[in-house]
Symmetry: C2
Subunit: 149 residues, 2 copies
DNA sequence: ATTTAAAATTTGATATATCAAATATTGTCT
DNA sequence: AGACAATATTTGATATATCAAATTTTAAAT
């Protein structure tokens, strides 16, 4: 039974995208209001760098975040320009850079981490772990469905 | 009880984003392999135009798709350049353009509509309507949670 | 009828994603 | 050692998103 055309609002992927865009916009706004001029993507990168301070390369961060190497170069350029981290050439492998936090970068991570946790809590209020698990299993099914031939 | 830091893969919003990006990339690939050089965003716009052929403005399409007017201008520029639609000045309101399909645009929509339905079916295989409803209700909760103060 | 406010579209600036091509450096193979 | 493949990063082109400012036209208010 071929489903006929649906209104966009009934397409679950459209709703997902809308919700995510809303969360992204809201988070950026909260960051800004808290005094931190940083986007969500920049935050994700900064946080991963801070977790492996001085030991992770651009490629490694890109893999963790499922991002393109080219995007990573550009996001890092911005974080460097904002004086939140810097590139240090690896002594073992001169192709790669180890990413190192600046003092300001560390302050950002220290201050933003609890803010991000609170944001997440707010977004997931009244939603049980069981429900989240269900959503996760559905996402996994979708990914699996697309990888099949 | 303040949740401590989580690995990214355990953050449900990250997983959602990953799944959506995968679906988007897969769809674009299928479009291309089917002989249609069009992105998912361009498709969404073209489809909405076709549904109100000659009677909808840029702002109206932008609202339906929850997009910025500036983005809409640029996506339409591309669709015009690809000869899939054109802008016709409205006789009632000279500020606005009515969007009109070209023959080629109509052919694209005719051919792509069943492809998109099949993609959606594939992505949602083995997922029940009940599960989709649950995901939808959770997305609504999230959106609601963010709009509260 | 003027002034003023609102609406539709565009444009410029900045951020991000993806793909392909280019560079520099390592690793591997024989 | 020398050739060739693989890896890390960068750069250019194109697509999209968001914000702010500008333009044109219409609507509203006095």
């Amino acid at each position: 039974m071929l489903v006929t055309d649906k209104a966009l609002k009934d397409v679950i992927f459209f709703s997902m995208d809308q919700t995510l865009r809303g969360l992204r916009a809201y988070s950026t706004k909260v960051f800004l209001e808290s005094g931190f001029d940083i986007t969500v993507d920049q935050w994700l990168v900064l946080k991963r760098v801070s977790e492996g301070n001085g030991t992770v390369s651009q490629t490694e961060i890109a893999e963790m975040l499922d991002k393109d190497a080219a995007s990573m170069t550009r996001i890092l350029d911005i974080l460097v320009k904002k004086d939140l981290l810097f590139r240090k050439m690896s002594s073992q492998d001169r192709r790669r850079f180890d990413l190192v936090m600046t003092q300001k970068g560390i302050e950002y991570v220290t201050a933003l981490t609890p803010i991000v946790l609170k944001l997440r809590e707010q977004a997931l209020a009244e939603i049980s772990d069981k429900e989240i698990q269900l959503v996760r299993s559905i996402l996994e099914k979708v990914t699996h469905n697309l990888s099949q031939e």
